[in-house]
């Protein structure tokens, strides 16, 4: 029996490990490779209306306990992206199209195109910490977020996930706004705003100066956010942030997540990290005599 099968609404995932947006999700070849390496689902790179080159390099630096990046949402634009999705090998693995926009009209346009490309769900990126006009400026305003979520929900027939940022005063309030807007699931968290200064050159390393911090260092923040959101909303939560091994997945599930997204761990443990993490989860469940992962969702809320 597959102990790891996960359901979010009507969508079924063979296992709870979903590739997070922004990691190898820009072209069909990469996505095919990630599917073959055992991911339960894939979120594409965030796609906008027009092509965007992102920021100049350096866009990435490794820090003591995590990774810092400011890519600046590079993507070829929604029209060019149709070709990539057409070239995806047909599988049962759900594909989630991530989109970012500056207003409801853009989000609606993107969501409808994504749906026409046959993705299985939409993820609204309203939490990029380093893209002006896009991302966090939408995701830190509950009124705007509810309006955009609602607008997208009304315009497509597939599930809509909303990915939230921890860089807000109350992530539970924001999650609640997304739920009121009709979101089918909350994804928490995106990266944490951070910075690295090279002291010899006395200047920030990233060209954009400020970036988003991911990896092990942010796991406690992610777990806290999922826990807080779970106390406020009824819809499923997809946990993200620093998940590197099976125990991290179990912890997020206990905090209230139904599934998880994996990003930086591709760096720490390479592309077959999905299989490795799933094996670790299965072993843990066996050792603790738990029949299936879904039994653990939210058990830490006593």
């Amino acid at each position: 029996m597959n102990k790891l099968i996960t359901k979010i609404g009507n969508l079924q995932f063979e296992n709870p490990t979903i590739l997070a947006s922004g990691i190898m999700g820009e072209d069909a070849g990469s996505m095919n490779r990630i599917i073959a390496s055992g991911a339960g689902g894939i979120v594409t790179k965030s796609i906008g209306i027009i092509p965007r080159t992102g920021y100049p390099n350096p866009t990435f630096v490794e820090l003591e306990h995590g990774l810092l990046n400011a890519m600046g949402l590079p993507n070829p634009g929604i029209d060019a992206f149709s070709e990539e999705l057409q070239q995806l090998t047909k599988t049962k693995t759900p594909i989630i199209g991530s989109i970012y926009g500056a207003n409801s009209e853009e989000f609606i346009n993107l969501a409808q195109k994504m749906e026409s490309y046959k993705v299985d769900a939409i993820e609204l990126n309203v939490s990029c910490p380093h893209a002006k006009r896009f991302g966090l400026e939408v995701g830190s305003d509950p009124v705007l977020l509810q309006e955009i979520t609602n607008a997208v929900k009304q315009s497509v027939h597939i599930p809509v996930f909303v990915k939230l940022s921890p860089n807000v005063t109350s992530i539970a309030d924001i999650a609640s706004a997304a739920e009121k807007g009709g979101a089918d699931a909350i994804v928490a968290i995106n990266t944490v705003k951070a910075m690295k200064i090279n002291i010899e050159l006395q200047r920030p390393i990233l060209a954009n100066k400020i970036g988003g911090y991911s990896g092990k260092a942010i796991k406690p923040i992610g777990v806290r956010c999922v826990y807080e959101i779970a106390e406020r909303v009824q819809i499923p939560i997809i946990g993200a942030g620093g998940i590197t091994d099976g125990k991290d997945v179990i912890e997020y599930i206990m905090a209230g997540a139904t599934a998880v997204q994996i990003g930086s761990a591709v760096y720490y443990r390479d592309i077959d990290v999905f299989k490795k993490i799933c094996n670790e989860c299965t072993t843990w469940l066996h050792e603790h005599n738990v029949k299936k992962l879904s039994e653990l969702v939210g058990v830490a809320h006593t």
Binding site: N32, A36, P51, T59, P74, A80
Partner: protein, 259 residues
């Protein structure tokens, strides 16, 4: 840790028309074919293969093409740059007789591989192909080390008039080689691949890079092969599987750019 180490430039030298070499302090081991991410503070960070290796210093060689290479060429001794790496896999240098084919600035990253082959007492032939005479460099360096160096230019201003890949094809028909190692325009390398079916073949590819550590996906080719991790040097079996090899590359946005 994958973050820039700050190093001083030891020397900067003009090699040919628009082509410069910069040497900097770095005691780390690097294999021929591997690359650094070179940070030019305030300008950009770009991948550069090593063009000369000593225990204490390493060198990169480049053509001025855009803002980053223009800024690099205007640096001086003792100026500071950041280096990350070395990254990638590098060449496998084995056999009794090897043919190296460098198109344009491709010979820059082949040079340390040629030198390793010569140190291993491998019979070494190098074809350097450029558009015109003023763009030729490293011919003397490789000749003096003992390589058999042949030159082609598109306009016939020096050496044989024509393409490096055509000369390679002629030589491969006449002489026995155990392998071909190449770097240059992808179309040239693809042409070469078609005549190297019976040989060990390795080509070094170039793609737009951001993270250089295998997560951003910007440099992927074929079925998600990362030029920064699984490459930049790929063998014949891999290259044959890459449906996009010699067909298109991608710009900073990920948009396809046909060759």
């Amino acid at each position: 840790m994958n973050q820039p180490r700050i190093t001083e430039i030891c020397s900067i030298k003009k090699e040919a028309e628009n082509i410069f070499s910069i040497a900097f302090d770095d005691p780390r081991d690097i294999k021929p074919g591997q690359f650094y991410m070179i940070w030019i503070p305030g300008v950009d960070e770009i991948p550069m293969s090593v063009s000369s290796i000593t225990d204490t210093t390493k060198m990169i060689t480049f053509r001025i093409l855009g803002d980053a290479t223009k800024a690099l060429a205007s640096l001086h001794t003792y100026d500071k740059i950041g280096i990350r790496g070395p990254y990638g896999n590098g060449f496998t240098i084995a056999g009794k007789s090897l043919l190296f084919v460098g198109g344009g600035t491709g010979v820059a990253m082949l040079a340390p591989a040629v030198e390793e082959a010569l140190r291993k007492k491998i019979k070494t032939t190098v074809i350097i192909g450029t558009k015109t005479e003023s763009e030729i460099f490293f011919d003397q360096r490789l000749h003096q080390q003992g390589a058999h160096v042949l030159i082609t230019t598109d306009d016939g201003s020096r050496g044989i008039k024509g393409f490096a890949s055509d000369l390679a094809k002629d030589i491969l028909e006449k002489e026995q080689f155990d392998g071909v190692l190449t770097c240059g325009p992808e179309i040239m390398m693809k042409k070469l691949l078609t005549v190297c079916d019976h040989l060990n073949f390795q080509a070094s590819l170039e793609r737009y890079m951001k993270c250089a550590v295998g997560i951003c996906g910007q440099c992927c080719i074929g079925e998600g092969m990362r030029v920064c991790v699984e490459g930049p040097v790929f063998d014949k079996q891999s290259l044959k599987k890459f449906f996009d090899f010699g067909i298109y590359t991608r710009d900073a946005s990920g948009k396809k750019i046909k060759f």
